[in-house]
């Protein structure tokens, strides 16, 4: 090559460097899967010597994928990719532009006897047939008649030359997209109880961030299969601007909802305080009275001789099914006890429990007996909120990467020649080819081409 290259240039354009860098990245990635990262590292900190831990923390062992080291490797890899692509591209461009010449003498040196055959035919007719076949196979084809014979040549797959640059470019864009993401992405969380509205979300560190709109969770649906595995987690969301609903969406796992650039994901759920329960309160000789109650509220006892306060309403209180805890007050008397929906079964399975644990007795406050008729639980939905401007960049890079790989690995650039020469009283047909990358594929193709030519010329001869 004519251009003189400095040491730094040739260092950064070398494939050895790329191999070393890729190996280092792989090694770092491997270490990161063995050494606990981020939150998980805290536990390790409790077990090893604090001085060592803080040293390891300082050199960012516990956040390898976001460390200076990893960043540095990415920068070096990017420089390596850019320089090596710049270094090699002119050659690829020249190869792309250069048309093979039908009169190339050099390709006919050292062809093996397997690359030719002899047939009885007229030279011109044979050449016409060969040209037709050739054009059908390669779409283009240059014919050259010379004194030594008739030559055909064609080139195929020349865009494959650019595949490697597409791949390198796509990796650069991937790194760029990841960088954009690491600087500008936002990840936050918010829990919304059914029926309530959120105006702000919370970052990992706990900082509050106002949203330019508000989100209401209208309903949270939880369904299970017969075997107990979860089937559906779904939040029905409504987005409001200035108090007016502008957009609604059903949010499920795998089906995020997007609004004004923010993506909402179903991340978790839980029981929210404020579930409603239906209580029946009975006294001997009086018709039972049915009331709707909720935790945190105080109600009058039927008959007006005291009050009761609901302390807790739970779908699965102490693992014994729906239940609530309440305190009944009347004058100086005060009793705290549980009311379970399935008290009969509980009594059946634990004989004598009421006598042993009076708090299980729903009739503890005589003469009243409480029974829980039904319970309507309230849920909160846990939403993950994200914004990552790097995502479309990455999607573009991924398409480029796959396209580039296919260009390199499934196609290849080759030039193919055919020579027809009068010999004895027939024609000698020979094939030759050149490929920069895939000699084995070329050999196979030439063998096939020769067989096809032979078939074509001899069948109609």
């Amino acid at each position: 090559m004519s251009r003189k290259k400095s040491g730094i240039w040739s260092f950064f354009s070398s494939v050895q460097l790329a191999i070393v860098l890729l190996s280092l990245i792989a090694f770092f990635a491997l270490v990161g899967t063995i050494v606990p990262q981020r939150e998980a590292a805290v536990e390790l900190g409790a077990r090893i010597w604090p001085g060592l831990f803080s040293f390891l923390q300082k050199i960012q062992i516990f956040d390898l994928y976001h460390s200076v080291w990893f960043f540095l490797l990415m920068v070096l890899l990017s420089v390596n990719l850019i320089i090596c692509s710049l270094d090699r591209f002119p050659l690829a461009w020249r190869r792309f532009r250069t048309q093979p010449s039908p009169w190339s003498e050099e390709v006919w040196k050292n062809i093996s006897p397997n690359d030719k055959f002899q047939t009885k035919a007229d030279l011109q007719q044979a050449a016409d047939k060969a040209e037709r076949l050739f054009k059908k196979k390669y779409r283009t084809g240059i014919r050259g008649d010379a004194s030594g014979g008739i030559y055909l040549c064609a080139r195929k797959g020349r865009f494959s030359l650019f595949g490697v640059y597409l791949v390198h470019l796509s990796i650069l864009i991937l790194i760029a997209g990841a960088l954009i993401g690491s600087f500008f992405d936002m990840e936050a969380f918010v829990n919304i109880t059914e029926g309530e509205t959120a105006e702000a979300v919370f970052m990992r560190g706990g900082e509050r961030m106002e949203l330019p709109f508000s989100v209401r969770c209208d309903k949270f649906t939880l369904e299970f299969y017969e075997n107990g595995a979860p089937k559906i987690f779904q939040s029905d969301l409504t987005f409001l601007k200035e108090g007016r609903p502008v957009h609604a969406g059903e949010l499920r796992v795998n089906h995020p909802v997007e609004f004004e650039g923010f993506r909402f994901y179903q991340a978790s759920y839980g029981a929210a305080p404020g579930g409603k329960a239906t209580l029946a309160i009975s006294r001997p000789g009086v018709r039972p009275e049915v009331m709707n109650v909720a935790a945190g509220y105080t109600f009058d006892l039927p008959g007006g001789k005291g009050t009761f306060e609901v302390l807790k309403v739970e779908q699965n209180l102490m693992n014994m099914g729906p239940g609530l805890r309440l305190v009944v007050r009347s004058g100086k008397r005060e009793e705290v006890f549980f009311v379970f929906r399935h008290i009969d079964q509980i009594k059946e399975m634990n004989p004598g429990i009421i006598e042993q644990v009076p708090m299980f007795n729903p009739g503890l406050f005589r003469p009243y007996t409480f029974s829980l008729m039904g319970l309507e639980e309230k849920y909160f939905t846990g939403l993950q909120v994200r914004k990552d401007p790097g995502t479309p960049v990455l999607a573009f890079a991924a398409v480029l990467l796959v396209g580039g790989l296919m260009l390199i690995l499934l196609t290849y650039t080759r030039s193919v020649w055919v020579r027809l020469k009068s010999k004895d009283d027939g024609v000698e047909v020979a094939v030759a080819g050149r490929s920069y990358t895939n000699k084995a594929g070329l050999e196979k193709e030439l063998k096939y081409l020769l067989a096809e030519l032979k078939d074509n010329l001899e069948r109609s001869a």
């Binding site: 190996s23 990245i25 690995l409």
Partner: protein, 274 residues
């Protein structure tokens, strides 16, 4: 269930195919190769039928999904892709010598799926995290990649066995042929692995809100990708051939295995594969 019974039988059919491929190599008679190839094809047909029946059964149970959603199904599918890819290669190349190295791998995977304790063979409904159209394309591309790497690995072992022991030289392909095949398999695997990582990334974007979260399985798939990227660069640019490529395909396969099985030892978001 009928599908697991069929798939259990497939295990034995693959073993029989392996035995006859072995006869072919030891006795150097192509007749045994023909027998082995037909047995292997019958095995693949039964395997395919088993998978289709399992797929249909899941719809009859009202929880329809492609049979690739738990560890048992993934093992069975992995073995299927290996057998499929191998038989495709055998048919295209008109060469049966790789079978003796590939079929035992398919057999071992099927045997593991059928008899290992703690592997749940039941058809399970999809949990919300797996209810995605990306499940099929992600699993399909990943396992096609794994299968191609498995074939490359088998060729690598073959290559080293040939050069170390020099046995059965007559019935094995030439070093040049094996090297070319190893390269082609690695290329195919690399493309599928890339597609697998890309589809996984898109899926993660929808499911977890993040296209890449350095989950151990993701990280190990990247490590695997880099190992094969180094292998392909070393060959295309540095001209590595033969023994070095054989070693690279063995190292790469080690990474594939760790990506598939080893990461279950580490805490992972992909934990539903166990």
């Amino acid at each position: 269930m009928i599908n697991t019974t069929i798939l259990g039988w497939v295990t034995f059919i693959y073993f029989a195919a392996f035995v006859f491929y072995l006869f072919r190599m030891v006795l150097a008679r192509e007749f045994w190769g023909g027998v082995a190839a037909w047995i292997a094809r019958a095995g693949l047909v039964a395997h395919t039928a088993g998978l289709i029946i399992r797929w249909k059964t899941s719809y009859d149970l009202g929880i329809g999904h492609a049979p690739m959603s738990n560890f048992y199904e993934s093992l069975v599918f992995f073995a299927w892709t290996i057998a499929f890819l191998y038989l495709l290669m055998e048919w295209r190349l008109k060469n049966r010598s790789i079978g003796v190295f590939v079929m035992p791998i398919a057999f071992l995977i099927m045997a593991y799926a059928s008899i290992a304790p703690g592997i749940n063979q039941r058809i399970e409904p999809l949990i919300p995290a797996l209810q995605s159209n990306w499940l099929t394309s992600h699993v399909l591309t990943c396992f096609m990649g794994y299968a191609a790497f498995t074939v490359a690995f088998a060729l690598g072992i073959m290559f080293l066995a040939r050069s170390v022991a020099g046995i059965f030289v007559r019935v094995l392909p030439t070093e040049y042929q094996m090297d070319e095949l190893m390269y082609s398999s690695a290329v195919l695997g690399f493309i599928f692995l890339t597609l697998g990582i890309v589809t996984g990334s898109v899926w993660a974007h929808y499911a977890w809100g993040s296209y890449w979260s350095w989950d151990p399985k993701e990280t190990w798939s990247l490590i695997t990708w880099i190992v094969y990227a180094v292998m392909l660069h070393a060959r295309l640019v540095r001209g590595w051939r033969g023994k070095r490529m054989a070693w690279m395909s063995i190292i790469g396969f080690g990474c594939v295995l760790f990506t598939y099985l080893g990461v279950n030892l580490l805490p992972s978001l992909h934990s539903y594969m166990v």
